[in-house]
């Protein structure tokens, strides 16, 4: 008899396993992870030095819940006909339902083979143990991971250069006004930022740019995004298009196979998206577990993510669109939130930045406004005197 098999023991897979039990499932639950460690949280890896391994849960929790956690074991192939997952070591696991939660891997461009990347505990250990006062660290990519690492490395006294091909930082995920605030802060902290920088080649101890400049480096880290790990699904004949394609309840075209977390592309408000976000991975893991047990509801949770750099906290709810204007709400002490409304005046996205958790409440409320499709007048949103929470009460 098969049971529930989850391949990928990251944030998403682990939450799925726990949720199966919380929902009362009593059959076997097997969680297959290729990493040798107990499942851990990735976000701290770029934010702390020395790297702190923060487990998602203690080992006893898996035992108490009768979850078979297979570590250091790779899922190699899905035999759909016989509903069986074949592991790299030759063992096989029969399943009634299979969840693919294989996450993403750091992207590399050709010619960047020598650069390090930051995705796992092993990566973080290797990078951070090589950084100390005066180390010349060059980071390729001005996205979250690169910038968080830049802040952490400055704390260790490294000389940090960030090379970004676009003309601003974090272009994919935050409005320009917020990116500018981070840009200023990194410069103040002594990070050398080179925008519009095209990397031509990596040498043993230098990065060469297209304009001919050479930047000396003891260590080079590429933070140029992540790509979904989709091989298992693709080899099994399941659709892959920037992630394993799933429907609203996170099911693939094979009704016994689901995919969730960083590896999947799911419909959000009618358009396919793939998110690399910690909370989304948790939420989708939980949702997939319920779907595996027969729940037919669509996943509707609003995307939400955060980043910490120095003492600045960034939070974003919803998906910001390039073609909609931003409405600015001052939160005090330099903190602010940028809202977007759709054509009907409903809140679409909110991005906020401030010291510590200054924008947390507003973003939490924004998330609920977005979820409920509440219509708000721009001047009400922008008036610092408005109690946003009141808007939720209708």
């Amino acid at each position: 008899m098969g049971g529930m098999v989850i391949v990928g023991a990251g944030e998403c897979g682990v939450r799925a396993a726990f949720t199966l039990r919380e929902e009362g499932y009593e059959g076997t639950v097997t969680l297959v992870g290729e990493e040798p460690h107990l499942p851990y949280e990735r976000p701290p890896l770029s934010k702390n030095a020395p790297p702190a391994v923060k487990l998602i849960a203690e080992e006893t929790r898996y035992r108490d819940l009768s979850i078979d956690l297979l570590r250091g074991t790779r899922g190699q192939r899905i035999d759909r006909e016989n509903r069986r997952l074949v592991l790299a070591d030759g063992r096989t696991l029969d399943y009634d339902r299979l969840l693919i939660a294989t996450g993403a891997r750091a992207r590399r461009f050709a010619g960047m083979e020598k650069a390090r990347t930051l995705r796992s505990v092993g990566d973080a250990d290797a990078i951070l143990s090589a950084i100390g006062a005066g180390t010349k660290l060059v980071i390729i990519g001005g996205g979250f991971i690169g910038l968080e690492l830049a802040a952490t490395a400055r704390g260790l006294g490294a000389e940090v250069t960030v090379l970004e091909a676009a003309d601003r930082l974090m272009a994919r995920a935050v409005p320009a006004e917020i990116a500018a605030m981070f840009e200023d802060r990194h410069r103040q902290e002594g990070v050398r930022l080179r925008l519009g920088a095209k990397v031509e080649a990596l040498e043993e101890h230098a990065v060469v740019l297209a304009d001919g400049s050479r930047i000396e480096a003891d260590i080079v880290v590429a933070g140029i995004g992540a790509e979904p790990i989709t091989g298992l699904a693709a080899d099994a004949g399941l659709a892959v298009d920037n992630g394993i394609v799933v429907d609203g309840c996170l099911r693939t075209a094979d009704s016994s196979i689901f995919a969730a977390g960083d590896c999947c592309s799911f419909p959000y408000r009618g358009a396919p998206v793939r998110l690399e976000s910690w909370r989304c991975a948790q939420d989708q893991g939980a949702h997939a577990a319920r779907a595996m047990l027969g729940c037919g509801d669509s996943f509707v949770r609003v995307p939400w993510f955060w980043s910490d750099q120095y003492d600045l906290g960034l939070q974003v709810a919803g998906l910001a669109l390039a073609d909609r204007p931003f409405l600015r709400r001052e939160v005090g002490d330099g903190a602010f939130v940028l809202f977007q409304l759709d054509g009907q005046g409903r809140v679409l996205s909110a991005s906020g930045v401030g010291t510590g958790n200054a924008v947390a409440r507003d973003i939490s409320i924004a998330e609920k406004l977005i979820e409920r499709g509440i219509v708000v007048a721009p001047e009400v949103l922008c008036d610092p005197g408005t109690r946003l929470k009141q808007l939720l009460k209708g």
């Binding site: 998602i56 849960a57 929790r61 909370r279 200054a358 947390a360 409440r361 939490s364 929470k389």
Partner: protein, 104 residues
């Protein structure tokens, strides 16, 4: 033996909101429900020890400001990822417009 400590005035906490209360090197959170009941829990999230006072209170839930971990503030129960450890709660009473909590 109970150990009642004065935490704040009733009016210091708005309806369906919370405040932080520090005492003797410890941090607590004091809540006022929509029906004007008062509750107290530890003040730091069990996930990463962030002050819950910056979080959002709604429908008897305190949502952590850092990663949205949720607790029922009446029972301290962890209500979903990423938190799995409950908050400790403390008995509360109101006397003459003051909120007291029992730290024993």
């Amino acid at each position: 033996m109970s150990q009642w400590v004065e935490a704040c005035a009733v009016d210091d906490v708005e309806e369906e909101d919370l405040i932080r209360f520090d005492h003797d090197g410890r941090t607590f959170a004091i809540y006022r429900s929509p029906d004007d009941e008062f509750y107290a829990t530890d003040g730091l999230c069990t996930h990463e020890h962030v002050h819950l006072a910056d979080g959002l209170v709604m429908d008897h839930i305190i949502e952590c400001p850092k990663h949205n971990g949720r607790f029922d503030y009446r029972t301290g129960e962890a209500k979903g990822a990423p938190v799995c450890v409950n908050l400790r709660t403390y008995p509360v009473k109101v006397e003459a417009g003051r909120v007291l909590i029992d730290l024993s």
